[in-house]
Symmetry: none
Subunit: 122 residues, 2 copies
DNA sequence: TTGAACATTAACATGTAAGTCAGGCTTTGT
DNA sequence: ACAAAGCCTGACTTACATGTTAATGTTCAA
């Protein structure tokens, strides 16, 4: 698969696909004419990189746990587990707070609607 | 509480606390001598900002939902059912994004642990 | 064979998180 | 009174995601 199609499927730009390569996050084969050729595995890997970046990981961090990115991913990616756990903590803390906040709003909304209901039923 | 202690409790630098202010993400009171004085609420708010940034949100995005960051849903977070509903939409959208991000991490973690398990059981 | 659509690299640009350092004021302990 | 430690602002620096553009090569269809 050529660059354009790959980029479209991943909903990122070709620019970023090249960026991933230049940053050493993935390697992509070439056809005879020098064009990049993306395999299905390349797509999955690039998709993971995209998600990690969108989740606040730097290229440095992603590179550091590069082994954890491949489908088969053998090798030493133990350090990756640490980072994943940390990230999970961040996300979960945020989620918990968002949930609290959500309840505050819901309660208030309910209170408002109670008042409206009691007014309109008068 | 002064800057040093606040930064230590939040495990970020004073530099970043000042940064949050300059970016309009929070306001911090001053004592007579001009020193910043962080309240418990300030600490919580800064902690949320820290978590949002660590989760890949830009200052622009954080600023946009600034009202949802305070402890009390009061302030600009009130003003009738309309605003509350908007607020809820914001929060739910955020929660959805967070869940996506969380799933990315969880999937990877699960994949890693499957691999480790199958290796160690051999 | 010419043009459109695709590809390539390289260079330049922008926004922003984050570090660091300099120059200067304030507080506090000795 | 002096030194150490804190604070303040502002400026310089780096890293990095991402966009844009320019110059050029390749493929394909009319």
């Amino acid at each position: 698969m050529q660059a354009k199609e790959a980029a479209e499927k991943l909903e990122i730009t070709q620019r970023m696909l090249r960026h991933y390569e230049k940053e050493g996050l993935m390697e992509v084969g070439r056809t005879l004419n020098g064009y990049r050729s993306y395999s299905a595995a390349d797509l999955r890997r690039a998709g993971r990189i995209r998600d990690f970046i969108a989740t606040g990981f730097s290229t440095r961090e992603i590179r550091a746990m590069s082994a954890c990115l491949s489908d088969e991913g053998s090798g030493p990616c133990e350090g990756g587990v640490e980072k994943l756990r940390e990230k999970l903590e961040h996300i979960d803390r945020l989620r918990a707070e968002l949930d609290d906040k959500r309840n505050v709003v819901i309660d208030r909304l309910a209170a408002l609607q109670n008042r409206l209901a009691s007014v309109s039923s008068r």
